[in-house]
């Protein structure tokens, strides 16, 4: 079976005036359907840059990125928006919920841009909230929810359009250890249900729960190994 994600010599260079920063320098990687993968590495090693590229929020300055058999590294702004909408579910460290909107409406957002209307939209959003155990908090606004609950709303939002991959950039970075544990159980559950999950973390015990760990250093892959301990 061909890889869900196929990355070849991927590079991302930032220019700040005269200075050029090579955030990623030639990353090659295959990720398959239903993998559970952690990206680790020291601060500034290029993890977020990598996630933004994988999530089609950004385009590489070198190399190729094939997602689901389609080369997405050279797409236009609007084409990338559609790929993000259909294929990607993104979970941010800072949740990024609309503060004035209810949980339900926050989760509905990707469906709005997918053109799903009215009742179907509400039902699908409600189902996604159920899936993360927040069926009883649909009418709450983010300010009325705990950090863990907010991140669950964000996960429901990432899931609602049934994306090919779920990307999470340090999803537990803003949470205490008990809540982190709770959120990690949600990811593990989703993975068990068939979801492909890629997550950035710098906490080893979080990474230990995944099946494969890719370590970046200075924008390159330092190691890429299967995580024996978590296979069960």
């Amino acid at each position: 079976m061909s890889a869900l994600i196929r990355i070849r010599d991927l590079g991302r260079e930032y220019r700040m005036g005269d200075e050029r920063i090579l955030a990623l320098r030639g990353v090659t990687l295959d990720i398959h359907r239903n993998e559970y993968l952690a990206i680790m590495g020291p601060s500034g090693s290029g993890k977020s840059t990598m996630m933004n590229l994988l999530g089609c929020l950004d385009t590489p300055t070198a190399g190729e990125y094939w997602l689901n058999g389609e080369e997405v590294s050279r797409l236009t702004d609007d084409a990338l928006a559609r790929v993000r909408n259909r294929e990607i579910g993104f979970v941010f460290q800072t949740f990024n919920l609309l503060p004035r909107a209810t949980s339900l409406h926050n989760v509905e957002l990707p469906l709005v841009y997918a053109g799903v209307r009215g009742r179907e939209r509400r039902e699908r959003a409600a189902a996604a909230l159920d899936q993360v155990g927040l069926g009883h908090r649909m009418d709450h606004r983010p300010s009325e929810l705990s950090g863990g609950q907010r991140q669950r709303v964000a996960i429901a939002r990432a899931l609602v359009n049934q994306p090919s991959i779920l990307l999470a950039d340090e999803p537990t970075g803003n949470l205490d250890s008990v809540t982190s544990d709770e959120i990690m159980r949600v990811f593990t559950q989703l993975h068990a249900g068939g979801q492909t999950v890629i997550m950035v973390t710098h906490e080893p015990d979080i990474a230990a729960r995944t099946e494969r760990v890719v370590v970046l250093r200075d924008g390159q892959v330092e190691s890429d190994r299967v995580n024996r301990g978590a296979a069960a």
Binding site: L57, D77, A81, R84, N85, F90, N96, L98, L109, Y113
Partner: protein, 414 residues
């Protein structure tokens, strides 16, 4: 994103910051209201001038033979000097005209400018600022006066220089408890004793000016008291509007013969009809109508720029939201639509509120001031179109700025 969704978002955003939204649309509101009110007043004046005012000043289907033209306001000094050299219009002139236009319903002579303003007294009651006209009997037909009580002035009154007077309704009303009881009473007009012959039915009041606050004297009685006026006027009432032109040219011809003017020599009189007055008014309002669009345009542009600035501010404040929406799959068109619809809803609301306040103001003006006002549909349509157009025009730039934001950079903004 469907339009309904964009609309919902726009309403929500506007509602969330009500006060700011209101100030944002104030510029458009004021411009639109201004447009509506001014056009309403001009339109109101128009129908007033071409209808009521003309009819009451000159008479329906009537032309005049005068010393100078009706539209004195448009004359320059040179023309005024020319007119001052002309002979006065006389009783003989009126007879000349009457002979030349036999089909006329009435040919009247009336005293003109300067119209005397008199004091009238009945027993212990006095009225000042009463306008006095000296007329021949047909004038009452020219003006379509009907008498509530008593009878009109007659040729005999004029020929016999009788000390009689016909009272405008307001005068009779104020001097007598029952205006109908005025007939046969003796009143004093600037000290001269006159017998009330009739009371004229009211014509109403407009522009704060009563048309019923006057008295009529037989022409001879008037001239004996006040002397000849500088602009005595011959009024000729024709059976139909179509007959006016032919009557005017025959009157002109007869007048030239009577005044012994040589061919090529200029008239030493003016034959004019109500149109001249209406034309004078039209010229005045056309100047206003050219000034209004400029004023409104300035208002709308200023209002539009305010909207543009506020929208840019809104886009700035909501950078994170825009980044998030883009990261969830919003295309440029989605974001552009969201903010454009917001600008449009704002200006449309401004326009609608402007129409409402304009409407209310126009209503207030026509109710509480002597100015008439008439709302016209086209001014409402124009105002709304202009307001909404400005919204679109000035909403495009902020909206397209929002749509081009880079999602990652936008999400990083605090």
């Amino acid at each position: 994103m469907p339009l309904s969704e964009a609309l919902r978002l726009a309403l929500q955003a506007i509602w969330t910051s009500k006060l700011r939204s209101f100030f944002t649309l104030l510029g458009i509101l004021v411009s639109v209201a201004f447009l509506i009110v001014v056009v309403a007043i001009i339109q109101g004046m128009n129908s007033y001038v071409s209808g009521t005012l003309t009819a009451s000043m000159i008479g329906i289907n009537t032309f005049q033979v005068r010393r100078g033209p009706i539209s004195v306001g448009l004359l320059d000094d040179e023309q005024v000097r020319m007119i001052a050299k002309r002979p006065l219009v006389t009783v003989e002139d009126a007879e000349t005209v009457a002979e030349a236009v036999p089909e006329a319903i009435a040919v009247a002579l009336q005293s003109g400018w300067p119209t005397p303003v008199a004091e009238i007294r009945f027993r212990d009651r006095t009225m000042i600022n009463v306008t006095v006209f000296g007329i021949t009997a047909p004038y009452q037909a020219v003006q379509d006066y009907t008498y509530l009580a008593g009878s009109p002035l007659t040729d005999q009154d004029v020929n016999g220089r009788r000390p009689v007077v016909a009272l405008g309704h307001e005068i009779a009303d104020k001097l007598f408890d029952n205006p109908l009881s005025a007939v046969g009473r003796r009143v004093r007009l600037d000290g001269r004793e006159l017998t009330v012959k009739g009371v004229i039915a009211p014509k109403g009041r407009l522009l704060g000016q009563s048309f019923d606050s006057f008295v009529l004297l037989p022409f001879s009685t008037f001239e004996a008291a006040y002397g000849r006026r500088k602009t005595t006027v011959v009024s000729v009432k024709m059976p139909t509007a179509d007959a006016i032109e032919a009557g005017m040219s025959r009157a002109e011809e007869a007048m030239r013969v009577a005044h012994r003017l040589r061919p090529g020599e200029e008239n030493d009189f003016t034959v004019d009809k109500a149109d001249a007055f209406v034309a004078f008014w039209k010229q005045l309002t056309s100047m206003l109508f050219t000034a209004i669009p400029a004023v409104v345009a300035i208002g709308v542009v200023v209002g539009g720029i305010v909207i543009m600035n506020i929208m840019l501010m809104t886009v700035n404040e909501r950078t994170r939201e825009i980044g998030l929406r883009k990261s969830l799959g919003a295309t440029r068109a989605d974001i552009r639509r969201q903010f454009l619809v917001e600008a449009l809803v704002l200006t449309a609301a401004g326009g609608a509120l402007g129409v409402l306040s304009g409407w209310a103001l126009a209503f207030g003006v026509s109710t509480f001031t002597p100015l008439p006002a008439r709302i016209t549909l086209w001014s409402v349509a124009l105002a709304l179109a202009v307001g909404t157009g400005a919204g679109t025009l000035f909403g495009v730039y902020p909206a397209s700025r929002a749509s081009r934001l880079d999602p990652i950079a936008a999400l990083r903004v605090e």
